[in-house]
Symmetry: C2
Subunit: 261 residues, 2 copies
């Protein structure tokens, strides 16, 4: 037993334990999903081919809204003077994380299925009954089963229409304001993440979960994926946003690290 | 002693050793430096203010070339059919890393200073004499002392002019093709990073260091910063690029993790 522990601490001396990395990010492309009123992602070719100097070269230009694809919302997105994306401390988006699976609670498919589900405090308490009370500074991810619908806008967002009128047709799960307050105030979590387009559910008009989280400087990861590849606890989340000065959010690469048994 | 080791392995059980995170990334803003021929970063305001529903809201649109600010070059940037930025395996840009400091070799300031220095195999061997042979799968960063000049285009790039004619005035240090081949073939490194605008030096016309590295699937981080905050070895680098499908590179958040003694 002592030998095993010493081997583990040897791995630690290398600066990092041994384990597996899991990518929790969608890619950015023409089919990346954005809010119906937001500019979509575009990649324009600057050059791609043989140069007159005899070698291949390719380069592109990018354009997009901050809030689409796998990204983080910074507190300033819904709170004047609050942290912008470059001001979120690195440690806020790095640390021990858990996955709370609520997909089974949500009527997922079939005609007239209403995915406008609000994740409740009871959903969190159900996880705690099995795994113990959420520790302070945990990063909490919710698997609502939505990632399986990406990048189909009808199934994932509730509509393929674009523009202001389409907003009323959004239909996807989100976090209830009560659960947001519970996670921030009662459990002291560092950050929250969902596999949906928004922390608030599709039917939300006042974005209360966003506002309650950001008042408390808890950033939110949206459109994360691949949560079924993670254990329910015992892994580390690392989310590194594009460092946009004064940005209200932005493209974020989200990865999980699962240590070896 | 055994007690100390067991404590260390307890930290490991949490998934992650204890230590400090260091941000090695410049931010993206109007003053972010780009190649003279590349589109600069722009952030346009979609909305920033009180909504008619009584809460504050802000959101922006982004546009930029892939290759500017702190970013990664993917092998396809200079090699047809090679890995695009979304195809670089996560593990390639995560792992044990070192800093080789060459700032003292380069005439940094004064009128007519020529910063077009080529990092040599001898510079790498000098580090090895002190710290031991570079281990396979290391990520190698070079501190050329350039980050102190950011974001002054004259001092950092060699010119504030823009457009094709300005390319002849670029003046900054880079990696010699011989050193690139040595690192890839003789040392089997995973990735390389510099605190300059390009892996090839300012005077380069044929970008041979890029081409030699990318032939061997070794990606390159450019415009990294804050390297003086890192030890010369014994830390972990984590570089997570924006996951642009088919991208030749892109904005990358680069961080270092320095484990506690």
């Amino acid at each position: 037993m002592v030998v095993a522990l010493c081997w583990a601490s040897f791995a630690l001396a290398e600066g990092f334990p041994k384990g597996r990395w899991v990518d929790l990010s969608h890619d950015f492309a023409d089919d990346t999903l954005y809010w119906p009123t937001a500019d979509k992602f575009h990649k324009d070719t600057v050059f791609a081919g043989e140069t007159d100097k005899g070698y291949y070269y390719s380069a592109y230009n990018l354009a997009a809204a901050e809030h689409g694809g796998t990204h983080v919302d910074a507190p300033v997105h819904f709170g004047r003077g609050r942290q912008s994306v470059d001001q979120i401390p690195l440690q806020q988006l790095i640390g021990p994380a858990v996955v709370i699976r609520v997909a089974g609670q949500i009527p997922q498919a079939g005609k007239g299925a209403n995915r406008n589900y609000l994740i409740s405090v009871a959903d969190i308490e159900r996880w705690e009954q099995q795994h113990g009370k959420l520790e302070k500074d945990t990063i909490v991810l919710f698997d609502t089963g939505s990632a399986q619908y990406w990048p189909d806008p009808v199934k994932y967002l509730g509509t393929a229409e674009r523009g202001q009128a389409a907003v009323d047709k959004l239909n996807f799960p989100g976090l209830s304001p009560e659960a947001a307050i519970f996670l921030a105030d009662e459990r002291g979590i560092k950050a929250v993440g969902l596999d949906t387009p928004s922390i608030d559910y599709g039917a939300s008009k006042l974005f209360k979960a966003h506002r309650e989280l950001f008042k408390r400087n808890v950033p939110a990861l949206e459109n994360v994926t691949n949560l079924q590849a993670l254990p329910e606890k015992g892994f580390t989340l690392i989310a590194l946003p594009m460092k946009i000065r004064g940005g209200s959010g932005g493209p974020t690469r989200v990865v999980g690290f699962i240590p070896e048994d």
